[in-house]
Symmetry: C2
Subunit: 121 residues, 2 copies
């Protein structure tokens, strides 16, 4: 039961993933397709998105969800990406989905190392 006086919208997972998958870090085409399926598989609802490729570099993108947002930025020159998954619990508890989606990203990019921070907010 949510207490309106101390309402915490949800869980924000802040991830940094190290990966040697330079193609996946440089071209968002496949990631975008994969992410749409993940959002559907996690029963989340996308409202809109935006992607941008940096010439000769990585890409940046975001997806607005009914449940809040996902954002990602890649730096192929550093074998690195950051990902944010913030899912609010307005109508149902989504914390496990935020963690599951992050784990899926770690596997997708064949992470050589990763850092994960969780912020309840």
């Amino acid at each position: 039961m949510l207490n309106q006086n101390v309402y915490l919208p949800g869980l924000h997972v802040l991830g940094t993933i190290h990966s040697n998958q330079s193609v996946l870090l440089s071209d968002y085409t496949h990631f975008k397709e994969w992410l749409i399926k993940q959002i559907s598989d996690h029963e989340l609802s996308a409202l809109g998105d935006f992607y941008h490729s940096f010439e000769g570099g990585g890409y940046t993108g975001m997806i607005c969800l009914t449940e809040s947002h996902i954002a990602f930025h890649t730096w192929p020159e550093y074998n690195l990406l950051t990902i944010d998954i913030f899912l609010s619990n307005y109508q149902k508890e989504n914390d496990h989905k935020a963690r599951s989606l992050f784990d899926a990203c770690v596997a997708y990019f064949s992470a050589t190392a990763f850092d994960k921070k969780e912020v309840k907010r």
Copy 2:
């Protein structure tokens, strides 16, 4: 001087702002216009954005920047919004801009209280 071995893209400010400004929390029109000017004043570069209004509720939105992203979600029923400002330091140090932009948001919404977390990532 950035060390490629421990490259930290930048500073992520995660804010929660309590506000009684129900109009500003329910209708993004004025906030969007204000934010465009703030981005310009802070010498940041917007690549694209997305906004969505929830019927009878708040709004959600994101702006992709060359320097990473800004995301916000409002819950007028809780007098609450969250804001994320993640600015990378790829070409220049932007930490002070992330903090300044957050302070501007606190003032803009006439915050009655706020919580601010900083994550170097």
